[in-house]
């Protein structure tokens, strides 16, 4: 089966611009997660979808971040306007419904300059 796909793999944008990251989970996986790793820090949870519903968005840093999951399939994470501290690697993961068995994508490395 295809894995979790994220694109772009890299994005370099200027402060104030908008960026949209996309994640295609494994087909049939109801649970979709976004995580972020900032350089020098541990991976941090951003939010969790179950199908198209936001189950938990307690990790979203602020209202400049907007996540959607259209029809319970792919998800997008938009940052608008981007700030320097938003730089990091954004990971998406999916699971079939049980806690164990997360599959991660390769991540999107976002650099805000």
């Amino acid at each position: 089966e295809a894995g979790v796909t994220q694109f772009p793999s890299h994005s370099v944008i200027e402060k104030g611009q908008t960026v949209t990251l996309r994640c295609d989970p494994i087909s049939g996986h109801d649970n979709l997660y976004w995580y972020r790793r900032v350089m020098g820090k541990e991976i941090k949870f951003l939010l969790h979808f179950v199908k198209e519903s936001k189950q938990d968005e307690s990790g979203m840093p602020n209202n400049r971040f907007l996540a959607e999951r259209t029809g319970g399939t792919y998800s997008t994470l938009k940052v608008q306007p981007a700030e320097l501290e938003d730089s990091g690697v954004y990971f998406c993961a999916s699971s079939q419904g049980q806690f164990y068995g997360y599959t991660f994508g390769s991540g999107t490395r976002l650099t805000v300059v």
Partner: protein, 113 residues
């Protein structure tokens, strides 16, 4: 606040040596997961330990969960260059959404031929 501390942060050894890396917390976790991450890729799940005192083996890798479920270790026997990578431990949050993972910073392992 649940934290996971991993040690050592960096480890460089020769092929054939044995090593142990640690994941410690002052909090009890219902389970702990170990992941391995290579550059440019997302974390890949190696194992989940659930029961206090549990030992799981994956070829040359041995994982142990502490009796009190506050710590875990990963022992690699006769390390190979292919074992090189970032080893991460993660556990579910015990506050609200238990599908939200708390992560350690990781141990970066380099196995030299």
């Amino acid at each position: 606040t649940q934290l996971l501390e991993q040690s050592p942060q960096f480890l460089s050894i020769q092929e054939g040596e044995n090593l142990t890396v640690y994941c410690n917390s002052s909090s009890v976790f219902s389970s702990l997961q170990w992941y391995r991450q290579e550059p440019g890729e997302g974390p890949v799940l190696l194992v989940t330990v659930v029961t206090g005192g549990e030992v799981k083996k994956l070829k040359r890798l041995t994982f142990q969960f502490g009796d009190a479920r506050k710590d875990s270790s990963l022992h690699i026997t006769a390390a190979q260059p292919g074992d090189t990578g970032l080893y991460l431990c993660a556990g579910p949050s015990n506050a609200g959404n238990n599908r939200k993972l708390i992560w350690g910073l990781g141990t970066s392992l380099a196995v030299n031929p």
